[in-house]
Subunit: 202 residues, 2 copies
């Protein structure tokens, strides 16, 4: 019987993916559930819904609630929080480097560092300098990682992940999917997803 | 100092308002927070967002997740669940009668009975017969209540509540607003709203 596992689908530009990314490791470990990081791009999926930017920009009242809600959630988790500017950030570069890192054993640390840079430190994640600093902190050769992130193989891998997200009917982030295909949308569904993952293999 | 209180804004057609309505009394009582029921109509607010029906109909993947998520939530709460047909139901009649009931002391019981009829028993809430049955079960004179629900005063009161909801930037239901104006959207934010309400008067 396979060990309980959950796929953690996220976009680095996604606001609620920040608290999810910062807490998933500890919560999943406590629950005995393995986590697979699946960075993807929400933009192409939003486009198919007719949105050319985040729905939090398109629907201002919803956006104002989200920023306030996120502030409250981060305060409760003792996570520093700054509103990214611009929002949403372009997350393509970070997502490509994350795929390099996930194959190289430093992916999860890199993902947390990107979310921290963006939502705690107010840094731009489409800036190569931000990426270089994060990679250097992780003792990863920045130039080699960035170069690999721009290979056709990695570009295609990110496109394939985004297509797979759409095939699985992902419409927002974060989304958690268990091995038996159950989909849970939202940081506030993480615990339910972990419980489901455990039950699915019990 | 005022006692902690929360306004519970909901539309009878709203799916996540069902579990919220069924559990709010017990959870709020345990927290020592008073609940004010504020039925309103989401339809006019959705229209200003450019939606002529529920976003769960407009965005099918989001809708499919919502139905499944609601099923899981109801199962966890031991609440019977049936998907209403059609969805969304026309909630004007039920909302008007609820305003009569909230002024008459049977409002909260009526609200729960309407949600039960719609989401547990598969009954149509735009059907006067459903309303008559619910009212009779509550030992309320059905014809008198329905007649009062159609007076200009009640019609205007519901319009005013919907306008107030919009003024407060409510964009979905259920929404909880504390006495100091903090807004929490979603059944999954009920506990946070109650904690905030207590803190606000502490």
């Amino acid at each position: 019987m396979a060990a309980p596992a959950v796929d953690f689908w996220f976009d680095f530009a996604s606001t609620y993916s920040y608290p999810a990314a910062m807490r998933i490791q500890a919560v999943a470990e406590a629950a005995g559930v393995a986590v697979r990081y699946r960075p993807f791009l929400l933009g192409p999926i939003f486009k198919t819904l007719g949105w050319d930017t985040s729905p939090f920009n398109l629907y201002p009242a919803k956006g104002r609630h989200m920023w306030r809600d996120l502030e409250r959630i981060c305060a409760a988790l003792d996570l520093p929080f700054q509103r990214p500017d611009p929002f949403p950030q372009n997350s393509v570069l970070a997502a490509r480097i994350a795929l390099v890192g996930l194959a190289g054993g430093w992916g999860a640390d890199f993902c947390r560092a990107v979310f921290r840079a963006e939502f705690a430190e107010g840094r731009r994640i489409d800036d190569r300098e931000t990426m270089r600093n994060i990679l250097a902190d992780l003792k990863v050769d920045p130039e080699a990682a960035i170069e690999e992130a721009h290979t056709a193989g990695i570009k295609e891998a990110l496109r394939a992940e985004t297509a797979e997200a759409q095939r699985r009917e992902i419409f927002g982030a974060p989304t958690f999917i268990t091995a038996d295909g159950e989909l849970f949308w939202g940081n506030d569904r993480l615990e339910s997803a972990l419980a489901w993952a455990k039950r699915a293999v019990a």
